[in-house]
């Protein structure tokens, strides 16, 4: 019961944050609305039983990535940049595309989707009880997904080197 109530509260906060981000004129305000949206999504992950993902969402997204955005906004001094940057002619096309996407997704979710039986939820909960919230993710991550995990580290290294190469004045 309380979970249902919390779900509605955080879903409303997440949607409100997203709408505020798109409609905000000031980049700093947009960024703070996006942080609100990401925190609400972290709460929804926890409500769905994905505790580790919820914590990683707060640390990685709402912490690291958003601080990076904030640094760039302050570095480029865009906080006073209030000139209108909304494309005037794109409203109709954007509304058409987005409502088409929502309609397609809703027809897939509500139409021919099978009844949402939580097949794997009891197994996940048992694994969280046995191994802890981190261990339940770490077991498949370091067994079946070991090669993609190592490739992720190469990806992050390439991203670091690329970012330094692009942003540095003289190498």
């Amino acid at each position: 019961m309380i979970q249902e109530l919390l779900w509605w509260v955080f879903a409303a906060l997440g949607l409100g944050g997203a709408i505020g981000m798109i409609s905000g004129r000031n980049p700093v305000a947009s960024l703070l609305f996006l942080v609100l949206s990401f925190f609400s999504l972290a709460a929804i992950y926890v409500l769905l039983g994905a505790h580790f993902i919820g914590v990683a969402q707060v640390i990685v997204y709402a912490g690291a990535i958003m601080v990076l955005f904030m640094f760039v906004i302050m570095l480029l001094n865009l906080g006073h940049d209030y000139h209108n940057d909304v494309r005037r002619g794109a409203w109709i096309m954007a509304g058409f595309v987005s409502s088409g996407l929502i309609g397609f997704a809703l027809s897939r979710v509500l139409g021919d989707a099978p009844a949402t039986a939580d097949n794997a939820a009891p197994a996940i909960e048992a694994s969280v009880r046995e191994l802890g919230a981190v261990g339940a993710i770490a077991q498949p991550l370091f067994r079946e997904f070991l090669v993609p995990f190592e490739l992720t580290s190469i990806l992050l290294l390439v991203a670091i080197i690329g970012a330094v190469m692009l942003a540095k004045r003289r190498i």
Binding site: W7, A11, G14, L15, A18, I19, M21, I22, P27, L41, I44, L48, A50, I53, A56, Q57, Y61, A64, I65, L68, F69, I73, L75, L76, L78, D85, V86, R87, A90, A94, G95, V97, S98, I102, A105, V109, L110, A113, T116, D118, N119, A120, A123, I124, A136, I137, P140, L141, F145, P148, T152, L155, L156, A159, I160, G162, A163, M165, L166, R169
Partner: protein, 97 residues
């Protein structure tokens, strides 16, 4: 709760697409892309309740890709800002036909 969360994820993704289409500030475009990645993460977490814990592992990979994308993209924005003194994409017309 699962069906409602999938609908929320669809709406958030469409809001991200809407933002990418109507805004011209490059930093806000990047924020909208992050919003779309988060909507996909939400769908992955919902499906992990039906298909197993692997969905949450994929969310982990998506977060790593999003972090690298943000780092490289913001470095690109800084390097473009040095040349053009703006982040409005209507001025980025060197590769536009």
């Amino acid at each position: 709760m699962e069906t409602r969360t999938l609908i929320l994820s669809a709406i958030l993704f469409s809001l991200g697409v809407f933002g990418v289409l109507i805004r011209r500030n490059a930093i806000i475009l990047f924020m909208c892309v992050e919003l779309m990645l988060n909507a996909v993460n939400l769908a992955f977490v919902v499906f992990s309740r039906q298909a197993g814990i692997e969905g949450q592992v994929f969310v982990f990979f998506v977060m790593a890709v999003a972090a690298s994308e943000a780092a490289v993209g913001l470095a690109l924005i800084i390097s473009i800002f040095r040349h053009l003194e703006t982040v409005d994409i209507k001025n980025f017309n060197l590769l536009r036909w």
